[in-house]
């Protein structure tokens, strides 16, 4: 997967650096706490939240269980509606397909609406290599792109930047990319948003090719759905003549009716709103309204490998709401960049090692980037048991065992004695010994028990050791950890 941030240090090192960046921490803390309490309020407004969550989980599980059938059905319905479907087994193939489609239009620039899938495959860089300039149009993505930076949050990728930094980036960089920032730009959010509006408008109005992802694809109708706030999505989806959507194969839902679940749970979990400002749905092409050509690129890139793992496959239910990031004590302190992938936070910790495998140090360390407090599971609108998958992946890193890579069954070697083990161990130590894990330490003993069917060797020992503790440790968790180094001494 080309989405690995090149030269990315393993989680503990990156996290360590983030913790010492006071601005970053302050921004993150403010942001996650704000959105966390707003979300709780938005969720409390609907009395049937538990039933919606359960239905969302079941819809996704059912779809994944019959994914081949639904993919074929989706292909048929998109084609019947005037779209063209392409299949991409990995990032390189997806990039080649998209670049080819853009080049065929004769255009050398595209407007993009925020999409995790295209970040995952490194599409912008691939297009640039073909002489095509991709303009990010989501405000936060624009900040990231102009700042030559990396996203740090799924929903608000520039969450690590404060208004002063954003002002400076706009004032310095906008002229490089198009319309310069207005003279005397201040750092009030309204002025910054206005600067972005002006800067991007000229691009929208002349754009001939738009590139998007999608939040959902409906198999029975061939409908794609994009949920957004700013209207940049609508611009990209309706003004260009050609629309190319790159979407992971797990984004399917069987029926139109299924949207009634996710259009209730996603906005409330994500932006903590009853409904996000704009949702667009389109089915193929419409005569004289919107793009004349629509291409759907269905992306595997490790998803079928994830599907092959009976415990890990639940990660494919994810609707990318980012609620799990906002409640995670480790994310709050480590920041999004430490996860070394476009998927940060708890979901990143279980998704990246599955999409990419656990061969690299960063991916081997990700399953340890958690205190297993379980807050992520509680807020997840599709009930992904993230702690369960984390423990499962730790076992895989520590003990090795069967896995699927690029469709082939492989047997992974245990990480023992390898650099990966050391990285993993450091991540575990970091997550545990850091003050962040403290608050949740008390709950941990109880929670971990549930996920721990057996004793784990190597780094896993740290977790299984907690099984032998009294229900509530007599000494504060942190003291216990400091004293025992998570059971390492007991080894």
């Amino acid at each position: 997967m080309s989405g690995t941030f090149v030269g990315m240090p393993a989680f503990p090192k990156a996290a360590h650096e983030a913790v010492h960046d006071a601005t970053l921490r302050g921004n993150l803390r403010h942001a996650t706490h704000t959105i966390r309490s707003k979300r709780a309020k938005a969720v409390a407004e609907v009395s049937d939240w538990a039933a919606l969550r359960e239905a969302g989980k079941r819809i996704k599980d059912h779809t994944l269980r019959h994914l081949d059938r639904y993919l074929v059905q989706l292909e048929e319905s998109v084609t019947a509606a005037g779209g063209t479907v392409h299949w991409a087994a990995d990032a390189d193939e997806a990039n080649r397909i998209v670049a080819g489609l853009v080049l065929a239009t004769g255009e050398s620039e595209v407007v993009k609406v925020k999409s995790m899938a295209t970040q995952e495959i490194g599409l912008n860089e691939a297009l640039e290599a073909e002489g095509i300039r991709a303009y990010e149009t989501d405000l936060a993505e624009l900040i990231v792109q102009l700042g030559k930076d990396r996203p740090s949050h799924i929903l608000v990728p520039a969450i690590h930047r404060n208004r002063g930094e954003i002002r400076d980036i706009f004032a310095r960089e906008m002229s490089e990319w198009g319309r310069p920032a207005p003279d005397g730009l201040t750092d009030t959010p309204a002025e910054l948003a206005e600067a972005a509006r002006l800067h991007l408008r000229e691009k929208f109005l002349r754009a001939k090719v738009g590139i998007s992802g999608a939040n959902f694809m409906v198999a029975e109708t061939g409908t794609l759905v994009v949920v957004e706030s700013e209207g940049n999505g609508r611009m990209c989806l309706t003004l260009p003549e050609t629309l190319i959507s790159v979407v992971g194969i797990e984004k399917i839902v069987p029926t139109w009716q299924d949207l009634e679940v996710f259009l209730q749970t996603l906005p409330r979990s994500s932006t903590a709103e009853r409904m996000n400002p704009y949702t667009s749905t389109w089915t193929g092409t419409t005569d004289e309204d919107g793009p004349r050509a629509f291409h759907l690129v269905l992306l595997d890139n490790g998803r079928t490998d994830t599907l092959a793992d009976e415990v890990g496959r639940q990660a494919l239910r994810c609707i990318r709401c980012s609620a799990c990031l906002n409640v995670c004590p480790v994310y709050e302190r480590a920041g999004g960049h430490a996860y070394g992938s476009v998927y940060p936070g708890p979901i990143g910790a279980i998704l990246s090692p599955q999409l990419r495998g656990t061969a690299s140090e960063i991916d081997a360390s990700l399953p340890y980037a958690s205190s297993l407090c379980g807050a992520c599971y509680e807020v997840c609108p599709v009930a992904i048991d993230i702690p369960e998958v984390l423990v499962h992946l730790r076992e895989r890193v520590a003990q090795g065992g069967p896995a699927t890579r690029e469709g082939n069954k492989v047997v992974l070697k245990p990480a023992k004695g390898h650099a990966a083990e050391r990285a993993a161990m450091r991540a575990a130590r970091w997550a545990f010994s850091h003050p962040g894990a403290l608050r949740t330490g008390q709950r941990l003993a109880g929670r971990t028990r549930r996920f721990h069917p057996r004793t784990l060797p190597g780094p896993g020992r740290a977790w299984s050791a907690s099984r032998d503790l009294p229900p509530v440790p007599a000494e504060p968790f942190r003291d216990w950890w400091q004293r025992t180094r998570g059971g390492k001494d007991a080894k």
Partner: protein, 215 residues
């Protein structure tokens, strides 16, 4: 082997070891969630729509059918609009009281031309009270998607109570998936800068919703 076969083959192999499951779709998903939240009469539902629209900073106006042309004319005048995009099937009487320049919604119009128009007036397909959402489906009285996107001022007329439903499930059931839909809940907004909500990024910065009819 092409990638389609590769991917479908991988999916099938990935699922091969999972026990056989032929539960039909309708039985696989228990839908014990509510069709709507709370019990409301028609008037209360319309009231809730108005409240939720306003909560997300849409400007809400109410009138009866006879008053509609006057309200629309007033809003355009207040805004100082010189031109307005008009979908082909919009009820002509709605604009009877204003002499603002009409711009037809035509396929040939370029986005740049559209950018020079001040306002747009449309009807809608359905409005959802619980979420304060209006949905456009590209019908003749709503026009192409872009006309409610590029101009900075959108006036949307909702016929109450006929076009109002309580909930998202009820709204979806009324909509045709094959039509291009735009769900709008307040003017465009961003919270990307320190999570401060700012109204109006790329879509119309002013959204006015007129609830027309009596309940």
């Amino acid at each position: 082997m092409n990638s389609r076969d590769v991917i479908l083959g991988r999916v099938r192999r990935a699922l091969a070891e999972t026990g056989h499951d032929d539960t039909p779709y309708d039985q696989a998903v228990e839908r014990s969630y509510l069709r709507e939240h709370g019990e409301r009469g028609v008037a209360e539902t319309v009231e809730l729509l108005a409240e939720n629209l306003a909560d997300y900073r849409a400007l809400v106006h109410r009138c009866d059918a006879d008053g509609l042309p006057g309200v629309i004319a007033g809003l355009l005048a207040e805004r100082g609009s010189a031109s307005v995009v008009v979908p082909p099937g919009l009820d002509e009487s709605w604009l009877a009281d204003t002499d603002v320049t009409r711009v037809a919604d035509r396929a040939e119009t370029t986005p740049h031309e559209l950018d020079r128009v001040d306002s747009v007036v449309t009807a809608c397909a359905v409005a959802i009270a619980e979420t304060g959402t209006i949905v456009l489906d590209g019908g003749p009285d709503q026009g192409r998607r872009r006309i409610t996107l590029v101009p900075d001022h959108h006036i949307c007329v909702v016929r109450v109570p006929d076009q109002v439903v309580s909930s998202v499930p009820q709204g979806l059931a009324r909509l045709a998936p094959e039509r291009p839909l735009t769900w709008i809940s307040g003017p465009s907004a961003t919270s990307d800068i320190e999570l401060d909500r700012v109204e109006g990024v790329h879509g119309p910065r002013t959204l006015e919703v007129i609830l027309v009819g009596t309940v």
